[in-house]
Homo-oligomer: 184 residues x 4
């Protein structure tokens, strides 16, 4: 049976990030043949093209982990109506050097958590623009703008609210099918 | 006579950045009552909300320099159809902590340099979205998507090509008037 | 005392448009020296560059009404994560023919109403991109993504909910100051 | 052998539209099992939700033609840093009424022609945002921002310039594979 390794990229470095909680809850809804690895992006240097040919160990690790993945799961907050700088910095590193874009061809899904109701819609549009350029086929619907409140995960680490869990199960089913279609 | 101090934010960390060249050429076209200071953004940490209340010296310096400025000049490349992560990271730092957005109310202009013809149009749109949210009044026209070739600056450090210099002089005149209008 | 005539452009043609309700409620919060006129955009033809030099009466009327205004108030729903085609069509007509952009220099504000919580944030970003290109100085903050429920306007035609009215009063005060600053 | 019928949507109504020329040139590069039909969008009414349940014959025709297609080819100019209102109006009609989005699931490609060098990059980003929402899987790379000059098509109606034809052949090959993958 084929196995699908998904690289998870979380746009926030906060220890108690609600997007990390969302990722954790979502991962539990995946089919058995999927596994997930959260990529570390907090130890990357700020991208500087002068260093393209002498990447740090953290950059090389990131690119290797992307290359090893069958698909990508982006879970990100919105900062100032765009994606966080820390996430864009990781995207920039993975795309370089010129001609060695590690993201290309990896099927992806995009979700985001927010505390308020306005949500992460604009950030996700910017991310989709970037992913299209990086040649990353990205799942369209269902969009997922998830409002997180205390108690999002129950004591067992699962999504507590039935409606939210059902919605995200539907999202995960579409995502899994999308990865399988594109991972060939 | 009033004096206008402009904070210049360059989106690339490359030593020989063409956007730095563009900034240098542009600054020379400013009225006498304007001075310019390029802000260092390459020594900022990756933004982490957990550190909001204990900023590094580099973050405090950035926020003080923004606060001291009468206006903002963004000069940025496009990376992967958006602004560089390094620039977004600086924007995120300057906007924090919640309620202490240093950018608010500072009039701004946006220009960008590229080697190819496609230019920096999409990055500038993302930047404009972010700046509107940060309550930064941003000059609309003329847009400036500048193609840079060898010899952009002559030996005296001025813009070599007559048409480009004339266009950028017109841009600077509009920018200066915009700053004066909003700086009250 | 100077008088400010504001052209109101509503992105929906529905008779019972919630954005029309929002416009009506908002207009009542304006200072005494402001008056408002809703522009008709539902009788414009689909823009065709071949007709640039022979505009219909509706196109000429639209351009004259824009020219006569001191400022612009856009009140629009989001359709399919962008502005409605009907609104973009009006923007295109007002911008033409080449060199005779009627929108240029008119200070503007952008608000939007939705039934759901996701709101009109992405549409407003697209609109801001277009307005920047059209050289329309557009108010940044406060953003206004208004959720409309039955009873938004009371029997007297005023905004029923105290918090919403207070928020929109603050919006209108900022908008009025913005128009005055730019209308010189 | 399976056959693929592609609906072509051209964003300009001009008789001598350079985007129509681009579409005509591109169609000739398609594999034998592909055929193309340009959809008429110039006779659609401006979208009004009140008419959702009583569509004009032109709206019904559009929706039927989309439904019959295996894929979508968008060829569009940029107007005022977004897609033309006429194109957005067609997208809005095809997406309605609620729950009967005709575009959903149809694989698509996006190209654009311009006279100048800045091209259609921003319009294409807005279009990609809309298409993602409409659940249209859209080809990422190669992007196609085509500068059109006199003599783009030769007397035989083929793309005259060798480099441009070669580039667009590569684009068409990727597009055809994308349609086949998603048309299942």
């Amino acid at each position: 049976m084929p196995h699908y390794q998904i690289a998870v990229i979380i746009g926030s470095l906060r220890r108690d990030s609600i997007n990390r909680q969302l990722a954790n809850g979502l991962i539990q809804l995946a089919p058995a043949e999927f596994s997930f690895k959260v990529l570390e992006i907090g130890d990357l240097p700020l991208f500087n093209q002068d260093c393209d040919e002498h990447p740090t160990a953290s950059v090389t690790r990131l690119k290797n982990e992307i290359a090893a993945a069958s698909g990508l799961l982006f879970v990100t907050p919105e900062y100032n109506r765009s994606i966080p700088g820390v996430l864009k910095n990781a995207l920039d590193h993975g795309s370089r050097p010129h001609g060695r874009n590690s993201w290309a061809g990896k099927p992806a899904g995009v979700v985001g958590a927010s505390l308020g109701t306005i949500g992460t819609a604009v950030a996700q549009q910017h991310l989709r623009t970037i992913l299209a350029y990086l040649d990353v086929p990205t799942l369209g619907q269902p969009e997922a703008f998830i409002q997180i409140r205390d108690g999002f995960l129950n004591d067992a680490g699962a999504i507590a609210n039935d409606n939210t869990r059902l919605f995200l199960q539907g999202w995960m089913d579409r995502f899994a099918a999308w990865v399988k279609l594109h991972a060939g």
